[in-house]
Amino acid sequence: MSGQVMVSEEVAPVQPGGPILQVTGLVKHFSTDRGLFGGGAKLHAVDGVDLEIFPGEVLAVVGESGSGKSTLARCILRLIDPTAGRIVFDGQDVLALKGRRLAGFRQQVQPVFQDPFSSIDPRWRVGTSVAEALDAFAIGTKAERRARVLDLLDRVGLDPSLAGRRPHELSGGQRQRVGIAAALAPSPRLIVADEPVSALDVSVQAQVLNLLADLQRDLRLAILFVAHDLAVVEHISHRVAVMYLGKIVETGPTDAVFREPRHPYTKALLEAIPRPDPDRRMEGSALHGEIPSPIAPPSGCRFRTRCPVAIERCVTEEPEMTPFGVGHTAACHVARAEQQQDDHHRP
């Protein structure tokens, strides 16, 4: 493998007929343990998220712990049911699907999970794990399935003879490739990858990222790539959405978000990445304090408790998503005000 991946950042993804996935107003609250007298607190994991993914596009959803990104991913996969909101896939209302049609949906939307150790059944042989979706959806004959498994293993860069092995005989990177092969088996159109490389050794991360990029290109897959690290997604995503405490604070083409971040949290995330350059040392981190509890999120703008530029308005009024360029939006009163000033001063 040459090890090079080309992800074109200029070409907009093909859009025949609009987004393949559309999420509107998604909310997921968890109730925590009730005390003896009832009335548990509500955990606002996801609190009103809108997003779209177009066919063949890689959308990265980036957030730190407590952002709700994993919960969002699970709602989209219908592994948990949201409290409110709509999810539309290929024109169908996902939350209303049942039985056969739900199975049809599952075939089209497949997950890749974070932990290569717990995401494959340790007692199953690798080949059986890869074929699980084929068996469940009764795709092809037994012989056809077997052939497809071998082909998939090869496709993800594994020796097909590994099909007969058990997971514990494989390394973390290999197991993750098995997970990817298993996700590709039913020929899905959308992959929801929940931190697919976070648990891998750094040297293996690049390999698996390259693999995902190759597959995405060859198979025209749409990928929802959930990550906690902006650096990881820079080279694989077309667009980025930044999440904080259950809400999306900024969305836009990767290049734009990285070059001209608008939301203070995005800026802080970018600044916090330790630069491998000893001549440019950061003199103090951009962000203070800890993320507030999702049980009692701050009023107004949720980021205000840690924001270096928070103003009065941020306490009382929740900022709305404002456009800042083609497809680039952010929800911040201060950023919006700055932009209005710039507009005014334009000759």
Partner: protein, 336 residues
């Protein structure tokens, strides 16, 4: 230049397993000067953690350690367990990677810090408590009085790691070994913890050995760096030298694989090949099988030599190594 507080000389560490002896650390020598932050960098499995654990005497019974590790002039290899125990937590502390498991879930965090103090110093409980409170404030825990009695699960990952650092500082150690202290944390919190470490070094002049795989962290925090691969130490230099003028092919490859922000549209370079099996490692330089400049002589272990006053390298490409390797002939490398 400050004198060396920690000197490692020709250390080998082997683990006995069902399938043979794993040569986890092979003939590593380095020295850490008092007051500096020394970074030990390498990928997973390169032996950096094993080396640190060997220094602290925390390796399991299946491990064999040979060579010399001198701390403040005192030999640690072979030291009686009781004496090692007295050093740990007192003169040398360790900060581990996972704040979730480093703290006892059943005890309040303040108590755990106090316990470290009373284990090594003859002080009253009240005094230990006062010191623990001061430490909590020192590491940036807001409202230490209120948080003193909190159980670890009530704190976030970042907070817990601060508590772990406070415990490590409790007895004003001369040396702190920090093993991937920020890897398990959110990137914004990591940034805060790195600030904290920098600040502590400034104020307390503690020597820190920082073990990590993250070159970014190294660049931001360390004074000098040692690069390890598959149990061997391949290069040591100041942090500026390592980034500006890396000499060892592995270091160069590591740096080349870093995705820089202003790179051409998308290319992630990987180092082709795989880490060698440490149970039966190839003789000589262990990076040879993946090295673009491999030569026949690489089947002999290249000695670590001074490329310049502050820059050591173990590679036959280097003139210094060739000089050093000539007179004594050379030893074949391999299993410990």
């Amino acid at each position: 230049m400050n004198e060396a507080i920690l000197t490692v000389e020709h250390v080998d560490v082997g683990f006995a397993t069902d399938d043979g002896t794993v040569s986890a650390v092979s003939d590593v020598s380095l020295s850490v000067a008092a007051g500096e932050i020394f970074g030990l960098v390498g990928e997973s499995g390169c032996g950096k953690t094993t080396l640190a654990m060997a220094t602290m005497g925390l390796l399991p019974a299946s491990a064999t350690v040979s060579g010399s590790v001198r701390f403040q002039g005192r030999e640690l290899v072979g030291l009686a367990p009781e004496n090692l125990r007295r050093l740990r937590g007192d003169r040398i502390s360790m900060v581990f990677q996972d704040p979730m498991t480093s703290l006892d879930p059943a005890f309040p965090i303040g108590e755990q810090i106090a316990e470290t103090i009373t284990a090594h110093r003859d002080v009253q409980r009240g005094q230990a408590r006062d010191r623990a409170l001061a430490l909590l404030a020192d590491v940036g825990i807001p409202e230490p009085e209120r948080r003193y009695g909190d159980a670890p699960h009530r704190l976030s990952g970042g907070m817990r790691q601060r508590v772990v650092i406070a415990t490590a500082l409790a007895n004003e150690p001369a040396l702190i070994l920090a093993d991937e202290p920020t890897t398990a944390l959110d990137v914004t919190i990591q940034s805060q913890i790195l600030d904290l470490l920098r600040d502590l070094r400034q104020r307390l002049r503690t020597t820190i050995v920082l073990i990590t795989h993250d070159l970014g962290v190294i660049a931001q925090l360390c004074d000098r760096v040692g690069v390890m691969y598959a149990g061997q130490l391949v290069e040591t230099a100041t942090v500026a030298e390592i980034f500006r003028a890396p000499r060892h092919p592995y270091t160069q490859a590591l740096l080349a694989a870093l995705p820089t922000q202003h790179q051409e549209p998308g290319s992630l370079r990987v180092i082709p090949g795989r880490v060698p099996n440490l149970i039966d490692p190839p003789p000589g330089c262990r990076f040879a099988s993946r090295c673009a400049h491999v030569m026949d002589v690489c089947t002999i272990v290249p000695p670590l030599a001074h490329e310049s006053a502050d820059h050591l390298i173990a590679c036959w490409l280097s003139e210094a190594t060739r000089e050093a390797g000539r007179p004594t002939g050379a030893a074949t490398g391999g299993a410990a």
